[in-house]
Symmetry: D2
Subunit: 338 residues, 4 copies
């Protein structure tokens, strides 16, 4: 890859502190399958942020986190409600259905769903000839870069509790959400306003790995059986433990998310200054400017990024993604070319 890529936030390896720690600890012997001291340390560090004694489990990737959490909770006839644009609904090759469960999808313009929409799903699922919606899945930040703030999450969680629904937040890009200027949530809020969520490592400076956080303790019973059965339990669990330990020392996790956001904001501001509009309001490390097609072609000679959606015959929305590793100079180069 010669051109600089704004295609995604998993193009690079890991933050150097992580690699350094892997080096230092490499020949230590550790017990396997996530029961080593590094996983324990990482759990303790995360719980400190949560201000709650939630259960923490590490798995190798986001699709795994989603399919393990959802299939472990739902009974065979229960379904999960998600945005039509939700990762589980679109980009996991039917992983949830492969565990036997329907996804009830809700159309959105900005990737976010409302309690009124959830309520409509409940009201149209009334008897045993239909699935029984039992869980709400949202992503924060969403697949189109928007974020739920504390008021919105509180409303959804309150609705879920009133309606006997489980709330699950996909945090593949949680670092970017939590450090967004549009989002006033903390990890401690997540611990109080969800039944279960996961903290994404892969898209925030780790080689791989996501931390599932189970706040509703009834959902944690025998949870490790599910991880093992679905192939999400690494023999060398230390690999994820060490990474999350590093991420949750000295605020690194948040610093990395913030850097990605800062780079995205810089892009967004300048693009906006040039008079261009956006598909969704820039809020996190994914932005969706609408550019003339000729301009997109020009930019693609120097940069890689996805053309996202046709707007009209002359204009399209593109997706630009920044990461913990995006150098400011590349952002400036891009801005100069617009």
């Amino acid at each position: 890859m010669k051109k600089y890529s704004f295609k995604n936030d998993y193009s690079e390896g890991a933050h150097p502190l992580i690699l350094q720690k892997l080096m230092e600890t490499n020949l230590e012997q550790a017990i396997g399958y996530g029961e080593d001291d590094y996983c324990k340390e990482a759990s303790a560090l995360i719980k400190k942020e949560l201000q709650k004694d939630s259960a923490i489990h590490f798995v190798s990737g986001g699709t795994q986190a989603n399919l393990i959490v959802i299939s472990s909770i739902l009974r065979p006839y229960e379904s999960v409600i998600a945005a039509e644009s939700g990762h589980i609904a679109v980009h996991e090759t039917g992983a949830i259905e492969a565990t036997g469960h329907k996804i009830n999808t809700i159309p959105t313009t900005n990737g976010k769903i409302t309690t009124a929409q959830i309520d409509t799903v409940l009201k149209t699922h009334t008897d045993e000839h239909m699935v029984k919606p039992k869980m709400v899945y949202i992503s924060n930040s969403t697949e189109v870069g928007s974020v739920y703030n504390k008021a919105e999450l509180t409303e959804i969680y309150t609705f879920c509790k009133a309606n006997n629904l489980i709330l699950f937040v996909d945090g593949a890009r949680l670092a970017s959400a939590l450090t967004s200027t549009k989002c006033d949530l903390t990890l401690a809020d997540l611990a109080n306003l969800t039944d279960v969520f996961y903290i994404g490592g892969t898209k925030n400076g780790a080689l791989l790995g996501e931390a599932i956080v189970i706040n509703n303790s009834t959902l944690d019973e025998n949870f490790r059986y599910n991880i093992k059965q679905k192939g999400g339990m690494l023999a060398k669990g230390r690999l994820i433990g060490i990474q999350f330990s590093e991420l949750f020392k000295n605020n690194l996790f948040f610093e990395l998310g913030k850097h990605a956001n800062t780079m995205a904001n810089k892009l967004a501001e300048e693009i906006s200054n040039k008079g261009y509009d956006f598909l969704t309001e820039p809020s996190s490390n994914q932005i969706f400017p609408i550019l003339p097609n000729y301009k997109i072609e020009e930019l693609q000679q120097d940069f890689e990024f996805y053309s996202w959606q046709k707007i009209d015959d002359n204009n399209s929305a593109v997706r630009l993604v920044t990461s913990w590793a995006t150098p400011e100079e590349k952002v400036l180069e891009f801005i100069n070319k617009i």
Copy 2:
């Protein structure tokens, strides 16, 4: 862990050359999901050993490799035949059944199955009221340390082809098998004598990762869909590509397997010299000496290892596992204590 552990072959991190390469390439941008140049390089290096243009796919772990391969091949009513001691039958928390398929198990004393036993399974599954056995699963080396040699594998493969069965070899410990003095197989043989197999990285010096090798091209159609659906496709696929590239340069993969075997042989010889017997003939990096219980207790004050099976009131078989990282001095220390 203060005591030295012979519990397994995944106690340490990765071979130093692997970590070094991860460091060197860390900030390069690479495309995701296993389509990067390192995965391509690793595939090319493996194919060179195979002397065949098989399809290579990298996944994050052994249970994943097994469940993805098996569920991708079998139709809903088809089953897989395996030894009662087979990893899929015992130690994957029902991962295969969770994809909908029965395992027809065969009792063994040494972890190895015969064509006569497979034939019996076929002969007792005769109509649509029973599952239809369609695949044979064997591990090499097996879960109890034994190995299949070329004559044995040839016989099984020939039987499978004559009976329209798929042969799948679980190679979680393939490096140890291929470098065992009891085994005359090469990777090129595996390519010719199986429909599909996987090459274990996790238990032979990688942080994680297994390479699925599909020799029967009809089984490769849309295979990546299966990997993605089951959560086995890492966003940062480079992580596995880089590791297998390093393992398959300069014979490292085989050197590491050989070292583990050499250490195990040394243990076995001395234990034998002291007059002790074994549960199964020492052949690879897992050995199962039968020791007096008092001796086991003594040894466990200095070393960690699993007590495997009660033999009689005074004696038990233990499992000792060596790895690419086992230092000779620890082996000598253990020998001294026997």
Copy 3:
């Protein structure tokens, strides 16, 4: 149930000729699981209508027919395309997802989907991060009473073949469709314009039972294994064989469908004459007149039927279903009350 019911077409038992035949043959011994002479006779009678040597399999119900057919054909990552109002998408409690497969739904106003809509689904499913649509499911007649005619079915089938898709027609109410004045299809057309379809018995005068017709012989391999595994194979398979034999003697199957349609037409005409409109054009044995709410309340004092959909504050659509057993006098009584 004191009030006469227009709620559905499965309120009564079986056509008297069926019961009579069950009586006559009751103490004959027959081999089980659908291999008896009555099943053979029924198959032969159906094939005569098909003018094709398709494979015929009998199962106990419509949800079974759907889940068995779909799960037997799709590979794990493949999906089925259906109308949002399709029975499999709404009213089978996630039966298809429970076998592991996503349903890609298409919004419709009249229950019918078009090739343009199918094409859009294909165009938005482009790589292994998404499911691979492989089958198109349509119902004829549809869940809202509309019918596909020969031109429409030909277009869909041609599109499917051009795009390597399987076409499956749910014929729970096929008798009503085939005898509708709006539909010019025959069973022989179905045999040529679908890969697989099923002929509904339950909703056309049988006690239970549906006949799956597989026209694409590659889909028939080991099909009985699927029926058995999913619990769709009756020990006393004769029960379904006898019923379908009777239905396909002397045109009974079509006579019963026609009677249901005639009753529905009579209702529709008079309702139309009184100046009321319909949610969808009356075409088969389900009609959806839009009536004032006060009128609906009045009618419900004498008849049972479902209120289907709110139209505005004063009017709602109701669903009236007629059957093979609907007496003309009840239709006239209803008409008098409007």
Copy 4:
């Protein structure tokens, strides 16, 4: 079929009283899906026998009953313990595995399992790398004609409760078990000594249908969703309701079972008198005499029955099954030919 068949107990149609009632009620309108008055009446009649307010659900067949009950109770990583000869383990085409669950099988000589054997399974399943056994499945009568008596069932149930296991009894041939001279159990005992069981109709005079009885009310939550999803819910549920109503009026269910047993006993006594032995002790309506091969060939010229198992070069065990409909004269004819 010209020869008289002792192959199974589902060769004939239904008991005449059942057919007569189907005739009488045929044109009544009834609500669908098992909520009609006949299902209610049948439930009430069964509960009277149970002397307990258990939940009753009707499904169309035995494989359905088994797969619905088991999949509704187990969490994804949980397994069911069964005899190696258990119907779910052998003759349901992997129906249980198809819902995602492993069956832990126990070898037996007479089809019956003991608490000591169950205990061994529990003791060898100790952590999250293995499935978690959660249910015990037994058949009464078993697949080889033996029966569990009250003392045995009490022991198993007590063990299950002490070990947090669910006890499920497959009663496909429960009528024969309950009326066996070797069995002192009543339906009321079953209600107290199992969590869930089913009462077989198909093999005791019904056209089809089994009654699932849930005694442990926590297992009944939303149970109908499971029935619908798996395709076990007949639109014309009345068909099963009417049949079970008839069976549980005037002791018919027990009379039919008793008749089958009486016919089997008569066969067994005379075969024994002629000096022949049995594979398992004759106890119910399935018996397994060991006969010389030449004798078997002779008998098969006049009767149909299964050759079950080779005993030695000259002798084999055969299976003779009697039913509610077996005429005494056919039994006498058979006896004469031995």
